[in-house]
């Protein structure tokens, strides 16, 4: 009995070392996901990008992910576990991993980190994000055209600049079509909670909104809008199957090309810490097909998309008027400076709501 146990143990050890050896020559790339890979939103898009990465460079790399890692005390450990498992390039795909990523990055200077949507960087820690406000601007144009009641419903996640700039871009665009457009905002205080998101959508529709937009990750709001016969925009991913007659378009996070580019740099030894903030002209995000709208609205959307991509149209073109009626200082020449957008913590004029914490 004891002998067979020993044999078993030896077998286990051997099996372990063999698999380790075959993997040693491949670059190990790790991912930390906020949600489950089946959230059909934020995490799902990162997972699709990882799959694209494997398809492109699968013979040179081995990828690993940890899903559903909360942005609390467990995050630092999860990241460090990936480092200790031999991953040399690690993507931490949510804002709340910023401090944990930085802590682990300082501890392991030879490992490279890529943190999504944050603002803290280091020699071995890059950040990457997308100018989603450009997509929001296009959505604002469509929403104002399509809304009969003149009231838009907006489900916010957290009042951080990324979300606030999205709301402002939406309204600035909508005002060019209908100067009296109204927006109702509900802060869900979560990125992913289908129950809460559905409740928020119901409440917004009850308040008269007939176009629902969201900065949360699940398709729940799309489903509610579909049930009630309203219109809605998807978020992060293609959500048309949840509202074939409802979805106008969706801002699609398309991280794949960025991931491939960064992993290639790592393989070539040219990786260095940088801050990537890509717009429609890069491939950080894309717009889903414009559906459920008349051709003239579709044309407005497509023209705006072309103008933004070509750099001819900027959603935050000066002058931008703040909620209090005062003009916002224009630090970027003709437009608000990138820094002002990245740190945006004010509403523009025409939003009848108080920014939380102001």
């Amino acid at each position: 009995m004891r002998k067979s146990l020993l044999a078993l143990a030896a077998g286990l050890l051997l099996a372990g070392s063999v698999s380790a050896a075959s993997a040693a020559d491949k670059l190990k790339v790790g991912f930390i996901y906020l949600g489950p890979i089946g959230d059909l939103g934020w995490t799902y898009q990162h997972e699709l990008a990882r799959q694209a990465l494997v398809k492109e460079l699968g013979d040179k790399i081995e990828t690993t992910y940890l899903e559903n890692v909360p942005e609390g005390p467990d995050a630092e450990r999860a990241i460090e576990q990936l480092v200790r498992a031999g991953n040399k390039l690690i993507f931490t795909t949510s804002f709340g991993y910023m401090d944990p990523t930085l802590k682990v990055a300082k501890k392991y200077p030879n490992v490279h980190f890529e943190h999504a949507t944050g603002y803290k960087r280091d020699k071995n820690m890059s950040t990457y994000s997308a100018k989603w406000y450009q997509g929001r601007y296009i959505q604002g144009l469509i929403a104002a055209k399509m809304s009969k009641s003149g009231v838009l419903g907006y489900i916010g996640s957290f009042p951080i600049p990324e979300v606030v700039s999205g709301i402002n871009a939406t309204i600035l665009a909508a005002q060019t079509i209908n100067p009296n457009i109204k927006v109702k905002i509900i802060w869900a205080n979560t990125w992913f909670d289908p129950g809460k998101e559905a409740d928020a959508a119901k409440a917004l529709i009850d308040q008269g909104a007939d176009v629902i937009m969201q900065h949360t990750d699940s398709p729940a709001a799309m489903q509610i809008a579909s049930e009630r016969g309203k219109l809605a925009f998807g978020q992060d991913s293609e959500m048309i199957k949840f509202g074939p007659k409802t979805q106008l378009t969706s801002i699609l996070d398309t991280w794949g090309s960025y991931y491939i580019e960064r992993v290639k740099a790592e393989l070539d030894g040219t990786w260095k810490s940088e801050d990537s903030w890509g717009g429609l002209d890069s491939h950080m995000f894309a717009m889903a097909p414009y559906t459920n709208m008349p051709d003239d609205v579709k044309k407005i959307a497509e023209d705006a998309q072309a103008a933004i991509t070509a750099g001819k149209l900027h959603p935050f073109k000066c002058p931008v008027i703040g909620q209090d009626g005062k003009e916002i200082e224009c630090k970027g020449g003709a437009n608000l400076a990138d820094g002002q957008i990245l740190g945006m913590n004010f509403y523009v004029k025409g939003i009848d709501d108080k920014l939380p914490g102001k």
Partner: protein, 363 residues
């Protein structure tokens, strides 16, 4: 022929000791089958879950870090449960402790406050946790309100208070509106025990708490009262023990420990106050308390074991690409077997043959 559960004449002490082992054995068998179905090598998977985390210093530290709040809260809860007082709101007391302690950290931020900051944070957190736990205790004693409901509902109040503070008054001015305080100053941070590691002073405090609770229950009259009031309320009344006073006491102690665990987590591994500082520690600790059979050493082992399943689950995800859901299934199966096997303490299996039963009845 049928299999029936028959009540034992008295509880079996042998089974009480052996049943967790049977439960773990059954869990391993079930998981082996599950891994095989998933097409994973069961031996490698079990090795990743149970053995690998125990073989290097880093993982051992992480297990201790994860177990620290669980053990500390569960010890307090065990005192309540032994005295028949049902504190379900340790999560809320944990959060209030974290908030109260953080108040000092936030207010002294950037000043040249001395070494008094951390001790003051710990004391204030424990006091706040105790006071918060006294609300349901007093409602129970004075008005007969169900402490299960009131303590549970106060969890949400604490959660929302924390949320309000980090979004409003205590928000990091340089944090781009994200709901978090600034990182605590070094004087407001729980010291690390090992350079470059994550093991912190809180783990030592948790061990002291375990020892203190063992002494309280085993060697003092108060501890005796707690056990008698819980096990034999009528006898306790005849003995002149004041059950209400014990509800107040045990609630206060468990609230203080939960509050202490809260500030240690915030000033330790997290480093700042933010929403989501607890992945449900206060509720998981209830499981730890019962897994450990409300015994101090049992709780220590149960806390470490549960922590092991978390760390092992992560390593299995990395090494074997086993999905997180399997870890959750694994934890669920384990609890299921533990509870099922516990019924063997008071019951036993018996094979019943109908015809013989008749014969015996006739004889």
């Amino acid at each position: 022929m049928q299999l029936v559960l028959e009540k034992r004449a008295e509880r079996s002490n042998t089974i009480a000791l052996v049943s967790p082992l049977i439960a773990i054995g059954l869990t391993i068998v079930t998981m082996t089958i599950l891994f095989a179905i998933l097409g994973k090598n069961p031996l490698l998977a079990l090795q990743a879950y149970f053995i690998a985390p125990l073989t290097d210093g880093y993982s051992l530290q992480e297990i201790a870090v994860k177990a620290t709040p669980l053990v500390m809260i569960a010890i307090g809860l065990s005192l309540c449960y032994l005295a028949n007082a049902w504190n379900i709101g340790a999560e809320g007391q944990f959060l209030i402790g974290a908030v109260a302690g953080s108040w000092i950290a936030v207010k002294t931020q950037g000043t040249d406050a001395g070494a008094w900051v951390l001790p003051a944070m710990l004391v204030l957190a424990a006091a706040a946790g105790a006071l918060y736990a006294l609300i349901p205790a007093i409602c129970k004693v004075k008005f007969g309100a169900s402490e299960i409901l009131t303590s549970l509902m106060l969890v949400y109040v604490a959660d929302l208070l924390l949320d309000y503070l980090v979004r409003g008054p205590w928000r990091d001015p340089n944090g781009f509106n994200f709901p978090t305080t600034a990182e605590f100053d070094p004087v407001a941070t729980v010291p690390l025990l090992i350079e470059g590691g994550r093991l912190h002073l809180g783990s030592i405090i948790a061990l002291l708490v375990v020892a203190a609770a063992a002494i309280l229950l085993g060697r003092t009259i108060k501890g005796f009262e707690i056990r008698v009031v819980g096990a034999a309320p009528r006898a306790a009344r005849f003995g002149g023990f004041n059950a209400n006073q014990l509800i107040i006491l045990t609630f206060a102690v468990s609230g203080a420990l939960a509050g202490l665990a809260g500030i240690i987590e915030v000033a330790g591994p997290v480093g700042h106050l933010q929403p989501g500082i607890s992945p449900g520690y206060g509720f998981t600790a209830i499981i730890v308390a019962f897994l450990g059979r409300l015994n101090q050493i049992g709780i220590l082992i149960a806390g470490l074991f549960l922590a092991l399943t978390f760390i092992g689950g992560e390593q299995a995800q990395i090494a074997m690409k086993i999905p997180l859901d399997v870890t959750k299934v694994f934890q669920g199966i384990l609890l299921f077997y533990v509870l099922a096997c516990d019924s063997l303490i008071l019951y036993r299996f018996k094979l019943v043959f109908p015809n013989r039963q008749v014969a015996r009845g006739a004889g």
